[in-house]
């Protein structure tokens, strides 16, 4: 029987001991003596969040299909266990074997949001791995980062041996093979890093040198060795039907955020919203065949016993085979008491019809993401949703019996005016009016409109990567303005308003477009006790303020400073397909309030056409490979 890393006494003292036991259905156990590579995959947040992540399930399955590799998992110990581990010197352990993470060959950390960066340091620290890659020895695991935040890995450059840029299915096999053969030949850690740096998609930060100008911007970013590529190319799967899918996903004992079968229907998005990083870095849009997904849904429901199936994509309505897939799910899964959840659907007659079949209308709410309050602002961000679309969709939904609407907006978008801000509650008012136009006896009581705003954070590889980010004071002023304007609306009693905390957004803004000089701020903040920054109950603002003061780094350099078109940006060395020329063109068009058609309407020659796959192939026979970087 399996022995545990934690004593009974600890497990009975802490919250939710099931976070640290492993042993879940479909957890993979192997004999450690019989594998060549031990890989520990980490999601640097609490178990319930980490276990809900599809990417880890994909890689866990992919790695464990290899006979020579055993992939295990670790998540951030929650603050209660964190404290005990520090006090008692208990090293961080992997869930499956319960062995110390420090004994592994690789520690892979997925970087899903900037506000988990202090948790990355916690993982390294509790594992007993030196925080700085430069101080690690042959005995330490290789620490590799991936996920969306790896598209600007620089703020974490000191702490990682390598980064994997792009989708894991493509280059990981080559990386693991290279690791094995280097070791068989008696090669060192340094030898391996040099080999790895030449594998497509692998970035080894220590092999690049950055110099700065007097004004603090980057003067040069160059490989230290002529054999190391100057540009690192993002990896992507050209045919989603040819890669493996985790049809036996892990089934946790405790309730986690995503407690259901997840079908990834497509990657990428055709829409091209100018604030959206995912819409750019995952180009081109590629679909998975509906027939395959139907098989997966059957296999996965049988293998997990889950009572819900959900579709995953950036914009499900754009999936061309959606009607067939949804019909199939309703006919099969729906018959067996399995719930069907359909996130990221555009509200129209089709989606309302589908939703009325799979949801309890009285309980569910409809979500619109206009992102901005006026048409002008929506043109700037290239959100192709018009007021007419929203009002029509809402009217249809109200007629269908729904009476709860959620609206998502951003504050602090480039060129935003007071009119745009006040436009947010005014749009909510127009929606409420549509509801109260329905005769009293036909409607279902009052309607409930929930307005939520988040603060806009410019992200790398978007047309807004040059934009100046708003300050905290301005954010709060704007949120106040929305609140005030809402109170002036006729139907204010049907509205509620929530806004995101501004401090966290500003910090997110610093790290999103940061460079390697931020590593020392991060380390200081961690030393000052910052951890679980995305959890409002844990967020420790003073710790961060002190860290900036102690290192003499001005956060405004990274947030509110406007970047020139010529500036070398810290992530410019990555080739994500989408060209800088395209992003600049889009940045210019945004200033002129011009919209750009989506990928299916007309190709804009963004650069992703060079992958010759997905929507780029579907549109035209001839692909122009322009990449004018």
């Amino acid at each position: 029987m399996k022995s545990l890393a934690l004593s009974d006494e600890i497990l009975l003292t802490i919250e939710k001991p099931a976070r640290y036991l492993g042993n879940e259905t479909h957890a993979v156990m192997k004999n450690k003596e019989e594998v060549a590579i031990r890989f520990c995959m980490c999601f640097p947040d609490v178990y319930e969040i980490g276990m809900s992540h599809l990417g880890i399930q994909i890689l866990y399955d992919l790695f464990n299909r290899r006979e020579d590799t055993w992939c295990e998992r670790v998540y951030s110990p929650w603050v209660d266990l964190d404290k005990l581990m520090r006090e008692q010197g208990i090293p961080l352990f992997a869930l499956e074997s319960q062995d110390p993470v420090r004994d592994f060959d690789f520690l892979g950390i997925t970087l899903q949001y900037e506000m988990c960066y202090t948790n990355v340091l916690q993982i390294l620290h509790l594992a007993g791995i030196p925080l700085h890659a430069a101080r690690r020895t042959e005995a330490d695991p290789l620490v590799i980062g991936g996920g969306p935040c790896a598209y600007n890995p620089e703020p974490l450059a000191d702490f990682f041996d390598l980064f994997y840029i792009g989708e894991g299915e493509t280059s990981y096999p080559a990386l693991l093979d290279a690791y094995k053969s280097n070791r068989e030949q008696g090669g060192s850690r340094e030898d391996f890093l040099k080999i790895a740096a030449r594998i497509p998609g692998i970035y080894v930060p220590s092999l690049y040198e950055v110099t700065y100008k007097e004004d603090g911007t980057i003067a040069s970013f160059t490989p230290r060795d002529p054999q190391i590529p100057a540009r690192v190319e993002k990896q992507l799967v050209t045919d989603l039907n040819q890669v493996s899918y985790p049809t036996k996903p892990l089934v946790p004992f405790i309730k986690v955020t995503q407690d259901r079968v997840v079908l990834e229907i497509q990657r990428g998005c055709i829409r091209g919203c100018r604030f959206c990083q995912a819409g750019m870095i995952y180009r081109p849009t590629r679909e998975r065949d509906a027939g395959k997904l139907m098989d997966y849904s059957r296999e996965m429901l049988a293998a997990t016993g889950h009572e819900e199936v959900s579709l995953s994509s950036l914009s499900s309505s754009d999936y061309s085979q959606l009607p067939q897939l949804v019909d199939f799910l309703i006919e099969t899964a729906g018959q067996e008491g399995v719930n069907i959840s359909l996130p990221s659907l555009r509200i129209d007659a089709f989606s309302l019809d589908v939703m009325s079949k799979v949801q309890d209308i009285k309980k569910s709410s409809l979500t619109f993401a206009p992102e901005a309050g006026t048409q002008r602002m929506r043109n700037v961000i290239n959100k192709g949703l018009t007021e007419e679309d929203i009002l029509k969709g809402a009217a249809l939904a109200f007629a269908g019996g729904w009476n709860k609407v959620k609206l998502y907006f951003m504050l602090g978008l480039p060129t935003e005016t007071e009119e745009d801000i006040r436009g947010i509650p005014r749009l909510a008012e127009k929606i409420a009016k549509r509801y109260y136009e329905i005769p009293k006896e036909e409607r279902n009581g009052k309607c409930q409109i929930t307005i939520s705003t988040s603060f806009f954070v410019p992200k790398p590889f978007t047309p807004f990567q040059w934009a100046s980010m708003d300050t905290q004071a301005s954010f709060l002023k704007k949120a106040h303005m929305v609140n005030q304007e809402m109170k002036e609306q006729l139907n204010k009693k049907s509205m509620r308003y929530n806004w995101h905390e501004a401090e966290v957004s500003v910090l997110e803004g610093v790290f999103a477009r940061g460079d390697r000089r931020l590593c020392k701020v991060l380390e200081k903040a961690y030393e000052n006790g910052c951890l679980y920054d995305s959890w409002s109950e844990c967020f420790y603002l003073e710790g961060w303020q002190k860290a900036f003061a102690e290192t003499g780094i001005d956060p405004a350099f990274y947030t509110s400073r406007a970047r020139s078109r010529e500036e070398i940006l810290p992530w410019d060395f990555l080739d994500v397909g989408v060209s800088k020329a395209f992003l600049l063109k889009e940045w210019d068009k945004s200033q002129e309030e011009q919209v750009t058609p989506n990928c299916r309407q007309a190709c804009q020659g963004c650069g992703a056409g060079k992958y010759r796959t997905g929507v780029c192939k579907e549109n035209r026979e001839e692909i122009s490979c322009e990449n004018t970087n």
């Binding site: 006494e9 497990l11 099931a18 293998a303 889950h306």
Partner: protein, 244 residues
């Protein structure tokens, strides 16, 4: 038809709490392809009932779960199919048909439970924490004196209030067996006596107080009471079911 399964909970699964065990079985029954019946309505759920929630940290050889299913498989198939999808730490021991009557469901039947209790090393009564011998007789002798008392008054804490109670009548059987204390205690909705309560009282009887994490508790069996003639007899919940 109504089914009762008996299962064992051991190893790391002792840290999985009752509500999560319920969720675990909902999914496991589906994985095993057992044709479980659902409630009507917009959000149908399985009709299932556990005999008696087992506390976190306890292991057991005698846990019970009742549910309804459509016909179509035998007792043997039920055990095989379920065990094929269990994680380490849960083992299905039997899969039996039970009476359809509501009063016969596991939860309302439970009247007694058997436990085996041991002390964690160094946590035995009468031994000082530093390991020095104490002048009191060994705890094994003291335990039979403790039981010989006409009454054992304890303060029982519930969610709402504390009340004083004589637990002696609810200790149906008790003996020391090697290093293990065997207890048969009243269980169920009327008077549920946890083994911790008995052991706390024992420590108090010795003029000591029980430290947290002193005990290892293993539940052996759950019983229903049968009132026949003068004496009340206990029959295991399993014995009320039949193979099919």
């Amino acid at each position: 038809m109504k089914i009762r399964i008996k299962f064992r909970k051991y190893g790391v699964m002792k840290f999985i709490g009752h509500l999560d065990i319920m969720r675990y079985f909902q999914k496991a029954l589906k994985r095993a392809g057992i044709p479980v019946s659902y409630t009507e309505g917009f959000s149908p759920h399985m009709i299932m009932s556990f005999a008696s929630p087992l506390g976190v940290g306890l292991t057991s050889d005698g846990e019970y779960l009742d549910f309804e299913m459509a016909e179509g498989l035998s007792s043997i198939q039920g055990v095989e199919r379920l065990n094929a999808v269990m994680t380490e730490g849960i083992e299905i021991l039997s899969f039996l048909r039970i009476s359809e009557e509501k009063s016969q469901n596991a939860m309302s039947l439970v009247a007694a439970a058997d436990y085996e209790v041991c002390f964690c090393p160094g946590k035995e009564p009468g031994i000082k924490s530093k390991g020095e011998e104490c002048s009191a007789p060994s705890w094994k002798e003291a335990f039979s004196d403790f039981l010989d008392q006409p009454e054992i008054r304890v303060t029982k804490k519930s969610k709402k209030a504390e009340r004083e109670l004589d637990i002696r009548p609810f200790i149906y059987e008790a003996r020391v067996d090697g290093e293990t204390i065997f207890l048969r205690l009243s269980a169920g909705s009327v008077t549920n006596i946890k083994p911790e309560l008995v052991l706390e009282a024992f420590f108090l009887y010795l003029g000591q107080s029980m430290e947290p994490f002193s005990l290892r508790i293993h539940r052996k069996e759950l019983y229903a009471a049968q009132e026949g003639g003068e004496a009340r007899t206990f029959v295991s919940l399993e014995s009320l079911g039949s193979l099919f």
